[in-house]
């Protein structure tokens, strides 16, 4: 088997699983997902090993038709790192979700269990598609898969407020799809191809291309929930069941972000100009500061974690002006690695945090922050999980979040754009504030009615949090993986 088959498997195994989930029914789909989880992780790790070993992206021309006529998969270091992340987060979530969405032998299928497993597989397949695809229209298909899998995840509980949140999410996501598709059509009209690598050699800064890029960027920002297009995220991510929130915050918003990276640094390296990149990072900085302040002000634990996602997404956009203003330099490489490690570390930390918060809310029967006193005694493991994940979000050494934020900070200073460094520091302090607020109340002695017994799945959440911290222990050379095949350095 050639290495080119690996990306095909990464996309098609979850896709096939999603489709056959329908006839298999809830119990069959659950067992299939649990079987696919280790298999998919093995494929992702194999991809990372091949990319790292060859120091080159994996390419596969589908049907032997090379672009621009056909479609090709292209898996570079960024894709490989994110695929491993997705496989771990999906697998962990799947095993965690057995408690809530499992179907015991001989029991009838329920609506929630029927829907959850194919939706989870669809999010996995779609995420891998955003990472493997190299064509602007295939990206659109991936975005549609992501949206139509994520939206019902939000509404799984079937309550009025979650339906409202899902509908609002759908409106934002569809607006994003329309804007993105408009841009794709213009791009084809301007260049006669949609392949990212071929486009890079054909488009210049002509007016239709710039308008297309602006439309696509706006659409992708709505799906990534960058402030001010974040309004849909807090109610959606806070209203979903814990397992769903974990994949929504960890992976779904990253799918559209990766496509944005392909657009800015693959299709149009250097074309949008430093000013546009400054605006993007300005929105990111606003998201960091306002999102963190909003998280500090929340009364409900799940909403606090959701607003924390709004803030952490902001960090992803700080890399844009740092790369745009110093293309091809060591500084740009640092900013790139910092941004990607931020996406990876946040995925692990936020999945862990949502699972931990879900366990607390289930045990306490509520998620009001001022009433969680005693949770530290009743639920020590979820509390530790929350704290560890919080370390990564703050950027405290030696966590993965520290590595990401340190690289971004260093790049900002090297690029002479000290204001981003200031934002990173303020964001870290504010994050420390809202994490401390939860932990300090939780560790107080309180009524803690239940005896301290383990909650089902708490070990899984803890492992994810530990991974998010351990990322910071990786030798710097390992981060070299995400540099392989960087599109802004040429195909």
């Amino acid at each position: 088997m050639s290495a080119g088959m690996l990306p095909v498997l990464a996309v098609m195994l979850p896709a096939l699983g999603m489709v056959v989930s329908l006839p298999l029914g809830a119990r069959g789909a659950e067992r299939l997902t649990l079987a696919l989880a280790p298999l998919g992780l093995a494929v992702a790790v194999a991809i990372a090993v091949v990319v790292y070993g060859d120091s080159a992206p994996i390419r596969h021309d589908l049907g032997h038709w090379a672009p621009p006529l056909g479609l090709a998969f292209r898996v570079d270091g960024l894709s490989a790192a994110m695929m491993v992340t997705a496989a771990v987060v999906i697998g962990a979530t799947a095993f965690f979700a057995r408690g809530q969405f499992g179907t015991a032998q001989g029991t009838a299928e329920t609506r929630r269990a029927f829907a959850f497993w194919p939706l989870l597989l669809a999010i996995w397949g779609a995420t891998n598609l955003t990472l493997a695809a190299n064509d602007l229209f295939t990206f659109y298909v991936a975005l549609e898969l992501l949206t139509f899998a994520a939206m019902p995840m939000v509404a799984l509980d079937g309550k009025r407020e979650t339906l409202e949140a899902a509908l609002r999410y759908l409106m934002f996501a569809l607006l994003g799809s329309v804007l993105y598709l408009l841009g794709v059509a213009l791009m084809y009209g301007a260049a006669g191809t949609l392949d990212v690598v071929v486009l890079a050699s054909r488009v210049g800064g002509s007016y239709p291309v710039l308008l297309a890029a602006a439309l696509m960027t706006a659409g992708l920002l709505a799906k990534t929930a960058l402030l001010p297009l974040h309004l849909w995220l807090p109610p959606a991510h806070a209203g979903a069941p814990a397992a769903a929130s974990a994949v929504l915050s960890a992976l779904v918003v990253k799918g559209s972000f990766v496509i944005l990276l392909r657009l800015w640094f693959g299709v149009l390296p250097g074309i949008p100009g430093p000013m546009a990149a400054q605006i993007l990072a300005g929105l990111g900085a606003a998201a960091i500061l306002l999102g963190s302040v909003a998280a500090l002000a929340q009364e409900r634990l799940k909403l606090l974690v959701a607003y924390s996602t709004v803030a952490q997404i902001g960090y992803l956009f700080l890399m844009f002006p740092l790369i745009a203003s110093m293309p091809g330099t060591e500084t740009a490489a640092k900013a790139w690695t910092g941004g990607v490690v931020q996406a990876v570390a946040h995925a692990f930390a936020k999945a862990a945090m949502f699972l931990a918060v879900g366990l607390m809310a289930a045990r306490l029967g509520h998620d009001r922050i001022r009433d969680i006193a005693g949770a530290g005694r009743a639920l020590p493991v979820p509390m530790i999980t929350f704290g560890l994940a919080g370390l990564t979000l703050m950027g405290v050494p030696p966590s993965g979040g520290f590595a990401a934020k340190w690289l971004l900070l260093a790049a900002a200073i090297e690029a002479g754009q000290w204001w981003w460094a200031l934002v990173i520091l303020c964001g870290g302090l504010l994050t420390g504030g809202y994490v401390y607020r939860v932990v300090s109340v939780g560790l107080r002695t309180g009524e803690a009615p239940q005896p301290a017994r383990g909650a089902e799945g708490q070990g899984i959440a803890l492992v994810l949090a530990i991974v998010s911290v351990l990322l910071g222990f990786l030798p710097l050379g390992a981060f070299g993986l995400v540099q392989i095949g960087r599109l802004d350095l040429g195909p």
Binding site: G63, L69, F114, T138, L145, F148, M151, G158, L163
Partner: protein
């Protein structure tokens, strides 16, 4: 030229009341007419495949879906949200007008003649053994996109069913329609389906070499299934039926397996064996048509409902 200008003027004239209309029902009715006019425009642009799809899916099936939504909204409680203020409406209007002007300017600035892949498609179409370039692109050169879009349809069915009330789970989808004893609907529901099925098979078969294909054929099949339901003659099967679920999944499964067969035999996903390309493409398309037709029908029927009386 004058005919084209008339079509364009009519499209704009119909689009405005769709947006400005006060009643959902009127807007939907005008939207269907608008879709049919768009189909005309596609015919004038020599894009017959797109015209067929626009008429069948854009105007037809979407129209039915929207009519159902309008009917449900009319029966529900009044909307609680305050209507947008004048300033907000003005802002949206200015934004949309600005975008329209920017898009218009961009389209005028596009290179002429337009860069296109039509040449390479025609140069390589022989390898896929089909005569219709649209089919060659959808099943060959960009087969992956079509495969994944078929999977999106399965996902849409899952997503729709996920919105069902828990108590109704496993039941039959959609509302129970009153039986139309006589009148045009009862007659059409009995007479049209056999004819429609033959037309659909024809459209699917000629799709390999002439305009037509699976999506258009599936839309017709869907309509032929929905007609007897609307007339109250036939009831849809419960969503727990195994055959129904297998039918929805069969098309994408067949497509993915054909893709993996290409990997195993030809060394690339979705590579068709030489000499058998057309056979494989048609076999996949036949299964896909059945799956798409059932999925589209299920999407129109809606999730299983507790109170199934309209």
């Amino acid at each position: 030229m004058i005919a084209d200008l008339l079509i364009v003027a009519a499209i704009v004239a119909l689009a405005l009341p769709v947006v400005l209309g006060r009643s959902a029902f009127t807007s939907v009715a005008l939207f269907v007419a608008y879709g049919l006019l768009l189909a005309f425009a596609w015919v004038r642009l020599d894009a017959v495949d797109v015209a067929l799809t626009e008429a069948a899916i854009g105007a037809g099936l979407s129209g039915v879906l929207l009519l159902g939504a309008a009917r449900r909204l009319a029966g529900g409680p009044p909307v609680e949200d305050a209507p947008p203020g004048k300033a907000q409406v003005a802002l949206i209007g200015v934004g949309c007008a600005g975008l329209a002007v920017a898009l218009g300017a961009a389209i005028l600035a596009l290179p002429d003649p337009a860069p296109s892949l039509a040449g390479p498609v025609m140069a390589n179409i022989a390898a896929l053994e089909v005569g219709n370039p649209v089919t060659a692109v959808l099943m060959g050169f960009r087969g992956l996109d079509t495969l994944l879009e078929a999977a999106v349809l399965v996902l849409a069915v899952v997503a729709l069913w996920a919105l069902a009330p828990d108590a109704a789970w496993g039941g039959a989808p959609g509302w129970r329609q009153p039986r139309a004893a006589d009148g045009p609907l009862a007659l059409l529901a009995r007479v049209l389906p056999p004819i429609g099925v033959v037309v659909a098979v024809h459209i699917l078969w000629v799709g390999a070499d002439a305009p037509g294909g699976k999506f258009q054929a599936a839309a017709i099949l869907t309509a032929m299934w929905l007609l007897p339901w609307m007339a109250g003659i036939a009831a849809p099967p419960p969503i727990s039926r195994a055959w129904l679920r297998i039918l929805v999944a069969a098309g994408p499964v067949a497509f993915i397996l054909a893709g993996f067969a290409g990997s195993a035999l030809q060394g690339a996903f979705l590579a068709y064996p030489q000499g058998y390309a057309k056979a494989v493409i048609i076999a996949v398309e036949v299964v896909l048509t059945a799956s798409i037709a059932v999925a589209l029908a299920l999407l129109v029927l809606g999730p299983p409902a507790e109170d199934r009386d309209a």
